[in-house]
Amino acid sequence: MGQIELKGVTKRFGDVEVIPPLDLHIGEGEFVVFVGPSGCGKSTLLRLIAGLEDVSGGHIEIDGQDATDLPPAKRSLAMVFQSYALYPHMSVRKNIAFPLKMAKADQATIDAKIENAARILNLTDYLHRRPGQLSGGQRQRVAIGRAIVREPAAFLFDEPLSNLDAALRVNMRLEISELHQKLKTTMVYVTHDQVEAMTMADKIVVLHAGVIEQVGSPLELYRSPRNKFVAGFIGSPKMNFIEGPEAAKHNAHTIGIRPEHIGISSTEGAWKGTVGVSEHLGSDTFLHVDTEFGLINVRGDGEVGLHAGDSVWLTPDLAQLHKFNADGKAI
């Protein structure tokens, strides 16, 4: 249960094609993350799978059944929205019971499933409250509870953590990952935050202007990005790109090197520069170094005793160098 297949799916709004023909396979039990900058079509793609938007062309199959023209309710998918989208006039219990009521489940089943979901999500003490009386994290858990009780073929998450504060976001990220391990149900998750994508996904789908740039495991994307866009999008801080004679030395139009793959020395190295801004986090040190190729970001392990204005030598780890041709494709 929980295989989703997109075949030549397109979406147009009027004359604007936001998603050109696109094929994608989402396997059973996979945690798939759609990631990309805002406006790349990732939420639209999720809404097409959910049935909240009609496709302009192509087919969507869920568990081998053609679901292209099925209404959202008939697709056995559950969705968690960015704004939580709880029913404000219902208690937490009634919110979670709503999909079961719609499915005409009997009261005993409803009660059992609510108790179970509340236990998994630590909501037992809040069942009688209204959504307005809950914190952001609790509301998000209610939204997830409402999705769990349906026992869907797949869960769809539309940027579910972006309304939460940073600390809570890290917690909820863990909770969702744990939930996936517990339920082993297919999950499709949309985010613009590449850290969320890297930490949660079995498989990442990088989207750019409605086009799939690359599909792969987080480490595949990190190690061998197929093009400059993916290379720049995955990884934090961003990969450094250098063009011109330095790139030509490596027979490439552009070379890319990640901040963590550059050695730092105050006495010798390949590239000379001056420290602009230095960020000392204790566990890491981020240096923004002015060089003859422009600004290079470097990440040093632990505390690096360099500050603004200091001279520094940088040495890229050549084994970790990425090369791109003039079209931005990896060589």
Binding site: A50, L52, P71, P72, A73, L77, A78, M79, F81, Q82, S83, A85, L86, Y87, P88, H89, F98, P99, M102, A103, A143, R146, R150
Partner: protein, 276 residues
Amino acid sequence: MARKTSNRRKLVLTIIAWSIGFVIFFPILWTIILSFKSEGDAIKTPLQVLTSHWTFESYGLVQERSNYFRHFMNSVVISFGSVILALIIGIPSAWAMAFVPGKRTKDVLMWMLSTKMMPAVGVLVPIYLMFRDWGLLDTRTGLIIVLCLMNLPIVIWMLYTYFKEIPSEILEAARMDGAGLRSEILYVLTPMAVPGIASTLLLNVILSWNEAFWTLNLTAAKAAPLTAFIAAYSSPEGLFYAKLSAASTLAIAPILILGWFSQKQLVRGLTFGAVK
């Protein structure tokens, strides 16, 4: 010092506000005063009116001559009936326009509003003839239908504005949760829009209650509401001020009381879309 000035300013503003309020309320107040006078006293100069004898005789005479309660019931049935019918039609219409707008939705809304700009008398003859042929003249059903049609544009506009404030994600969540169109409107949209629906109901009940053109032209005796009851006292043979005032007071009292208790909802209804 600053405090003193602001207090004086407050006093002046309060006096002005109360004066304007009094001027607006004066006709109603005078009507109520006249209703407690005898027919002879009611036509005297204002000072004499105020100092003359107070009596309930006009109320007695009005009730004797025409059955107030029957007119009252007609008014209740017609105004609530027409608005409830309008809500039954208006809620799904406003849902469609607010959540699944098409290219021409704005035009449809404007067109509906434009029908309110046409003088009612323009369609009196065709509607009168249709009502005659269909046996709807002087029936409550007929008036419910015509007043529903009159208020439908306002009902749909008001509901549309309220529905626009409801995040569409909540309705999409309901759809994902397996709700069909009927369940979505019945269990999710309507309960969330209750304040909006309540003020729509109240405002339109008041409009229907006071509607005089159609109620006077399409009724005779059986279905005549309170507007016709008042009109019966302004006769060609001369005005009976005291009795007319008593009838008017009786006619506006129920709606005045309803309005008083639902002030908050009404203000919200009248300023809909303005706040938030």
